[in-house]
Amino acid sequence: MELRHIAFGNLRRRKGKAALITFGLAVAVAAFVLVLSLILSLRATMDDRLSRYGSNLLVTPPRTDLDLSYGGVSVSAAGSGEVLYLAESDLAAVQALGDGGRLAAVIPVRLEPVSLEGRTVLVMGTDLAESAKVKLWWRVEGSLPDSPDEVLLGLNVRNEFGLERGDTVDLGGRSFTVSGVLWETGDEEDNLVVVDREALTSLTGEGGRINLIEVTAASTSDVEALVADIERALPGVEVTSVMQSIEFNNQADSSLARFGLAVMLLIVVISGLVVTITMLTAVQERQKEIGIFRAVGFKQRHIATLIVLESAMLSSSAAVIGVVGGLGAASLAPRLVRESELGFFFDPLLIAAGVAVAFLVGLSAAVYPAWRAARMDPATALKYV
């Protein structure tokens, strides 16, 4: 027989107290796992949504002049007028960085002024399917162009020219059918005519010209590293990150983390107190028993070890119950929050974290009761004084 047998025997006898301590610890572990899982799930969901919500990087040709615009008014015509382009090889270099799912989308954009019904409009040639995937604010009345002979009109263009879905328009001397109209975006897109990039190339007769590349990182946390990689791969190009979304994400992340940490800390402290108080009561009830142990030769450290062993055993049970309960609750949570993209987030680290919390709280809470038990005077414990 060793100390662990005595510890186990005591727990078996004092089932009520053992159950109460296990329950207190299990609640802390379950809450910890649930909150952590929800935070990670929310974070992943937010990251995913921000990643999908438009590009977070713009790759543009190097500028030769300072920007000649102020307050939204551009006077760039006063400059050299030279327009620089990115090449197809630049596009390929950016796409090559996306191996391993690092990039959610790489969209080449070409902009050309083209004559529409005798007036000049700005035509954007792009990869329409890819654009629609990341520009979730696009609402199309009709459909996206699915052939080189179709165009998508911005709302202002539709209004200006009185065009409707299905109409045929003369664009740069070629006939196109209006496949759809973009609902108001409140942005520059309202003034655009959007066509497939190949269609724009055939219209202007000048291939291999890309004004900018819109890049969407799979994770916003990767944006800064991606900027550095693109600058390394394409020296001289301008790479601009859309910092607002990243900063918003970072702020949201840290707010979530702070909130989660506060909730977890509160639960852990309350649970630790419950365990400490319950164990102190148990130690007090076992005063005589501890006196007997001391009388037969147990040292202070043996008594402390007994209490800590008991706590470790209860922590093991609480870890199993708490992790299973926490993961179960986390898997049910998304069903309770309708209209939410929240999913069940599982990572083996959640189990490890749950087990660590069980032992951390259980053993920390046992320190003071173990110290009290160890310092118990055997003569007093046996009522000899």
């Binding site: 027989m1 005595i6 037969v296 040292k299 202070q300 043996h302 055997p378 046996l382």
Partner: protein
């Protein structure tokens, strides 16, 4: 040199405002193989003396030497070692640990030792007091009073300590069970153990070699059982 030497032990409780002297300059010696009973009325100091003999309650002044070792000069840790090596306790109401089997109760003093053969040793000691292995597996609550008493004695001697201290070992037992315990203690003394028993029951002293009578914290008589008057 006597196995137990108590020299000028004084024990006070409380503070300067309310001081109670439990023992006044008590000196005595107990030899190996001697069976002594400490007797006295309630509050006379006999239990305090036993706890001092048990290396659990340091005296205010004076000393206790066991096998020549000044017990209260030792650290708490070494006192615990000394208790395990030198002293076996038989407690009032026996005080078996209720959630451990009879065999585990006997193994209790061995639980902190790293050596093997603990179970065999405990079974052998249980057999010596008349408890077989099957009964050894039972919880104390499943044993008769007499069997519980024998288990308590087995626990006290499993380390083969030279000293047995018994605190009112028959106080809460029926006559027959009490008799069995007293017989066991006599046997232990005959086997070379120094046995010191605290009792207030004159019937318990029939087989002892010596009665140490305590009155108001002082030894009032220290002689054979026939010579020390039994206090009422």
């Amino acid at each position: 040199m006597a196995l137990i030497e108590v020299d000028g032990v004084r024990k006070e409780y409380g503070d300067a405002a309310c001081r109670v002297v439990a023992l006044h300059e008590v000196s005595l010696e107990v030899e190996a193989g001697e069976y002594a009973a400490i007797m006295g009325p309630s509050g006379s100091g006999k239990t305090t003396l036993l706890s001092i003999l048990g290396a659990m309650n340091p005296p205010t002044s004076g000393s206790l030497r066991i096998d020549g070792i000044d017990v209260y000069d030792l650290s708490q840790e070494r006192q615990a070692d000394l208790r395990r090596e030198y002293i076996g306790f038989v407690f009032q109401q026996l005080e078996l640990v209720p959630y451990l089997s009879a065999l585990e109760n006997v193994m209790l003093p061995l639980a902190i030792l790293k050596e093997g053969g603990k179970r065999e040793r405990a079974l052998e000691v249980l057999a010596r007091v008349g408890i077989d292995e099957q009964k050894g597996r039972r919880l104390p609550s499943e044993l008769s009073g007499g069997e519980q008493g024998r288990v308590a004695i087995a626990r006290a001697i499993v380390n083969d300590p030279p000293i047995i201290l018994a605190d009112e070992p028959v106080g809460s037992l029926d006559t027959s069970t009490g008799r069995q315990i007293l017989d066991q203690l006599r046997t232990l003394a005959d086997g070379g153990h120094a046995v010191v028993m605290v009792t207030h029951n004159p019937d318990s002293t029939a087989d002892v070699d010596r009665v140490i009578q305590i009155l108001d914290g002082s030894v009032s008589c220290d002689d054979g059982p026939k010579f020390c008057a039994i206090p009422n």
